[in-house]
């Protein structure tokens, strides 16, 4: 067989190569100490002149196992350190989750460590909020400033701890920061969940008891709808799946409005209308029920509410011909897929995915998917969805003082909510991570039940990560004290009053973590090199801050908290012995205060080094602490089980010891069954069974386009936007527009387009392609930063959230990202 291949004939990647010619920037010289001045007046003397493993002149070479933090997956890496410089990141073959791989971002972690734009020193704002003008201060000065402002606010708010908002991005040290939040006693915690996978996690959670993993190594038939594992890499799913597609054991049905890289690997691609997946699943279910293709034994044993659900689907008439006009998927394709899925079941998977909420019906979609999966019996079994097992590690005790004056979470209950309606302003269920959009909007509308004036923000970038950037900017301007702990001068950091620079993941040891699954293990992020500049790990930062803040916080509590005042007044009396004689002197007020303060002493939370805490966590396993330092990975009998089978295959567990089935097919709900009909949800105004509503129909007014967003393999949201090597792969984002539509509008590749919605506008270059429908446009999230301290990312491409409208998904108040129509104009 002969194949003609010429590299120049191809587009490199999506659009990268055709855009920018060879820029003469050198990867190695990029880090030269050229006296590059950042806004804080620092220099880059700590950044090496060149990086490569080529020289062979290193006096000392060390290989240190760590865990990647370029995205949320936590793949295992081995850092090669030559004379103190990290010269290469290689995959760590010993970790069952990532199976000896590092993706492009994982490889580019070196550029996160040696990014000249990194935050280097503590900073205090000198300019206007958002202006990005700061002065360099010492850690003590920064802590003193935070303490003074925090105490002032708490004094004025009479010790209402909830006058401070705490928010954090996902990460291994998120927990460390959360202990600060718990110790501080605020009720306002917002994390990434409501702008991420809240609805999918909860949809599966209430239906089968947990968000499951997928055994893509053994599944024979996979429906991947609204998930894009070829571009949004998840370990081990991505690695397991694509070795077996294309007629090699796994049949892949890709359902996506766009033709993605996953579609390119699929046996069939179905161009579904955005937001109509629920109708597709309901129609699949209809076929399976009417043709009685479901696993009757499994349904009998492990379903609750099956008859009601069956009746609901059939009487509602969710037939393939009903779904065809809604979804744009042919009825005959739906019938065929339903039959094929069940023919391969239980080794067939309707892939749960893990993405942001796209449509308002996402929670119901996830419920319908989980139930459909159950109909095939592919739960808790090889080739299906699995719960797996876990290697238990020890937790450590936190500190959760009770503050009488602290209000609960700032939620607004509906005053006139009738029975069977959502009880809150912006959601039916209040989740642990809250509704970020709902919270922000209530704050801006002055609907908060009390004043929130301060905000501690840990590695979280609200300016980039949620819809309607203009509103987020307004919110951050109104926060009186914004403290940002981060590694990079992000758009959010530009609004900070105090900036505390954290070191990158390669410069710190993080809490040891256990990874459940078919092949469970424990893994640890070990410090590779000492922190550069004056950066510190979060544990050390909070230790320093608590050193100054803890006592004054307690003083405020003493001033306002009646419970604490009463407790302090109750001095222990001197003991009286059997001869009725008083012994000792009794408790002094000072002694009592020491006793009470012990419950409020936040310094205790961070007094131990992370290494020490990690050793304690795995104390039950002999040799584990040592293995985690040496190999980065541990599980019982690892040395016996782990072996390399071939260049590309490693064994972690013998096949018969893998945790495919741990509950005999039962689910993890309280009833141990698949929950079809949730009466408890009905009380909150949520459909108890997945139901199609007319307002879910997809339509776009003439002249407009539905805006879609998404991820890809080379960047992680906005977090890697300034990474020079990744930017080399993809210099900026482009807007996909259907080729024929573009031609009609006179739009050519590379033309600048203005994209306008009701909340804002962005300019972005055009990529005409047939991979998208005529009434839709798409561009990748994470570009278009406004922080001028980011050399590479500043105003590079377009920010999707500047135009995405703040539409709330009704159950959890999650941000529904694909509900915005835009207009497009060539400029």
């Amino acid at each position: 067989m002969q194949v003609e291949i010429s590299r120049r004939k191809f587009l490199q990647g999506t659009v990268a190569m055709s855009v920018v010619g060879g820029t003469a920037v050198s990867a190695t010289n990029l880090f030269a100490s050229d006296g590059h001045d950042s806004s804080d007046g620092g220099t880059n003397s700590a950044i090496p002149d060149s990086i490569t493993t080529k020289t062979g002149e290193a006096k000392e070479v060390r290989n240190i196992p760590t865990l990647c933090e370029m995205c949320v997956n936590k793949c295992a890496a081995i850092a090669r350190v030559e004379d103190g410089i990290v010269t290469k990141l290689d995959p760590n073959p010993m970790f069952p989750k990532s199976k000896n791989m590092l993706c492009p971002r994982g490889n580019a972690g070196i550029q996160a460590l040696y990014d000249p734009d990194r935050l280097k020193y503590p900073l205090i704002r000198t300019g206007e909020k958002g202006e990005g003008k700061f002065k360099r201060v010492s850690w003590d000065e920064a802590f003193a400033y935070i303490t003074e402002k925090t105490i002032k606010i708490l004094d004025e708010e009479k010790d209402n701890r909830s006058s401070f908002l705490f928010c954090a991005g996902e990460g291994m040290a998120e927990h460390t920061f959360k202990t600060f939040y718990q110790g501080f006693g605020s009720g306002n915690w917002l994390n990434h969940a409501s702008i991420c996978l809240q609805t999918v996690a909860s949809g599966y959670g209430v239906t089968i008891g947990a968000y499951p993993q997928s055994d893509l190594e053994n599944a024979e038939y996979i429906i991947m709808a609204g998930a894009n594992r070829a571009e949004a890499i998840v370990s081990p799913d991505t690695m397991d799946l694509f070795k077996r597609t294309k007629g090699r054991g796994a049949k892949l049905i890709c359902v996506d409005p766009r033709f993605t890289n996953t579609a390119a690997k699929a046996d069939k691609w179905l161009a579904i209308n955005p937001g109509t997946d629920l109708a597709f699943v309901l129609a699949l279910t209809y076929v399976v029920l009417t043709e009685e293709l479901y696993n009757k034994e499994y349904v009998e044993a492990h379903f609750k509410g099956f008859d009601e659900y069956k009746n609901h689907v059939l009487t509602s008439g969710y037939s393939p011909s009903w779904a065809e006009p809604i979804t744009n998927i042919k009825a005959k394709d739906i019938v065929k897929i339903a039959r094929e899925f069940m023919a391969h079941a239980p080794k067939s998977i309707y892939y749960p995915g893990r993405r942001s909420t796209f449509a308002k019906n996402d929670f119901q979609l996830r419920r319908a998917m989980a139930i459909f999966q159950g109909l095939g019996g592919g739960i808790d079994c090889k080739g299906g969805l699995i719960f797996g097992s876990k290697v238990k590690i020890k937790g450590h005790s936190g500190l959760e003082p009770l503050y009488a004056r602290a209000e609960s979470r700032a939620i607004v209950k509906k005053k006139d909510a009738k029975k069977g309606e959502a009880g809150y302003d912006d959601c039916a269920v209040v989740s642990g991570g809250g509704s970020w959009l709902g919270w922000r909007n209530r704050f801006l509308e002055n609907k908060m039940p009390y004043k929130v004036r301060g905000m501690f923000c840990y590695k979280h970038n609200p300016m980039m990560n949620m819809p309607n950037t203009a509103k987020t900017a307004e919110m951050l301007k109104r926060i009186e004290l914004l403290v940002c702990i981060d590694t990079m001068p992000s758009d959010t950091v530009m609004y900070a009053d105090v900036v505390l620079p954290e070191c990158t993941y390669l410069e710190r040891t993080d809490p040891v973590k256990t990874f459940g699954g078919v092949e469970p293990s424990i893994a640890q992020r070990n410090k590779v090199v000492d922190p550069l500049f004056e950066t510190q790990p979060i544990n050390t930062i909070l230790r320093g801050l608590m050193g100054q803040l803890s006592k004054p916080l307690f003083e405020i509590t003493k001033k306002y908290d009646e419970d604490v005042q009463e407790e302090l007044a109750e001095l222990e009396k001197a003991e009286v012995d059997e001869n009725n004689e008083t012994t000792g002197t009794g408790q002094t007020a000072e002694e009592k205060e020491v006793e009470v303060y012990a419950e409020f002493d936040l310094t205790k939370l961070f007094e131990h080094d992370q290494e020490h805490t990690n050793e304690h966590a795995v104390h039950d396993y002999p040799g584990a602490a040592e293995a985690l330092k040496e190999h980065g990975v541990f599980y019982p009998k690892m040395s016996e089980y782990y072996k390399q089978i071939s260049a590309n295959v490693h064994q972690y567990y013998p096949e018969k010891l893998k945790s495919y089935s741990v509950f005999g097919g039962a689910t993890k709900t309280a009833s141990k069954k698949v929950e079809c009909n949730l009466a408890s949800m009905a009380k909150k105004g949520v459909d108890p069974m997945p139901t199609w509503r007319d307002d879910y129909n997809f339509s776009v007014p003439d002249g407009k386009f539905r805006l879609m967003t998404g991820r890809h393999a080379q960047f992680t949201q906005s977090g890697t936007a300034n990474n020079s090597v990744l930017r080399d792969l993809m210099p900026e984002n482009f807007i996909w527009i259907n080729k024929r539509v573009a031609k009609e509008k006179g739009i050519a590749f590379g033309d600048t387009l203005e994209v306008t919605s009701s909340v804002g506008k962005v300019t972005i270059k055009a990529y005409p392609t047939e991979k998208i429908a005529p009434n839709q446009v798409f561009f990748i999230h994470g570009f278009g930063e406004e922080s001028s301290a980011l050399t590479w990312a500043y105003k590079n491409g377009g920010n999707d959230n500047a135009v995405i409208e703040d539409v709330l998904e009704p159950v959890y108040g999650a941000a529904a990202m694909h509900e915005t129509n835009v207009e497009i104009r060539k400029v």
Binding site: M1, Q2, V3, I5, S6, R7, K9, F10, L11, Q12, T14, V19, V20, G21, G22, A24, V25, S26, A27, L30, I51, T52, T53, K54, K88, D90, M101, L102, C103, P104, G106, N107, A108, I110, A230, E231, I233, F242, K243, K246, R248, F259, N261, A263, A264, K265, D267, W269, A271, A647, V649, A713, Q714, V725, L726, D728, L729, T769, E770, P774
Partner: protein, 187 residues
């Protein structure tokens, strides 16, 4: 002494470009869209939405083919391009005069100019980095999420790559040119 080659299970490729980054990091390759020792070829998809041809949308991971009869080596006037002891096609930068004959001669477009040394650069199977450190494989093979590559000694009948080529159908790029590439695409 070996005769190194590479087998590519190219259908595994998802065009994530991990190999490109690993190569650049390992070998200190400069930034720039034309500065690739390794790349993934992508064709524009055929058809009109929604009737698109999945089969037209392939990802072809590629790099220097390390031809056993290498046109680049034949045309080099200074012998800067040479076969090392493992039959890897290498460039001696001290001898390269940037005449660029090799770039023209290469049917695979596998060579480019390194702006720092002003010499021609190309994939060398990580010979002066990983192999020199005693590792047994290349950066691209090692890092690949979907494990496209198998690297090894074609002269060793016991090697994994030899076994793969004995048992799996495969093809070479532009085989009609008679360059005898040592990259093999498994079907």
């Amino acid at each position: 002494m070996a005769r190194y080659g590479m087998a590519l299970d190219y259908k595994n490729c998802i065009n994530c470009k991990a190999c490109e980054v690993a190569c650049k990091e390992e070998n200190g390759v400069t930034l720039g869209a034309d500065k690739h020792r390794i790349w993934v070829g992508v064709k524009e998809i055929e058809g009109e939405y929604p009737f698109l041809s999945i089969s037209s949308s392939t990802f072809m991971p590629s790099q220097c083919q390390h031809c056993d009869d290498a046109p680049c080596q034949m045309v080099c006037p200074t012998n800067a391009t040479y076969f090392d002891e493992n039959r890897v096609v290498r460039v001696n930068t001290d001898q390269c005069i940037l005449c660029s004959y090799c770039m023209v001669a290469c049917p695979y477009d596998a060579r480019f100019v390194d702006d720092r040394t002003m010499t021609v650069d190309k994939c060398n199977f990580c010979s002066d980095t990983r192999l020199a450190q005693g590792k047994t494989t290349t950066a691209c093979q090692n890092t690949c999420p979907t494990k496209v590559r198998t690297f090894g000694d074609l002269d060793d009948p016991e090697s994994e790559i030899s076994e793969l080529l004995r048992t799996r159908d495969h093809f070479s790029l532009k085989a009609h040119l008679g360059t005898n590439p040592k990259l093999f695409y498994l079907t």
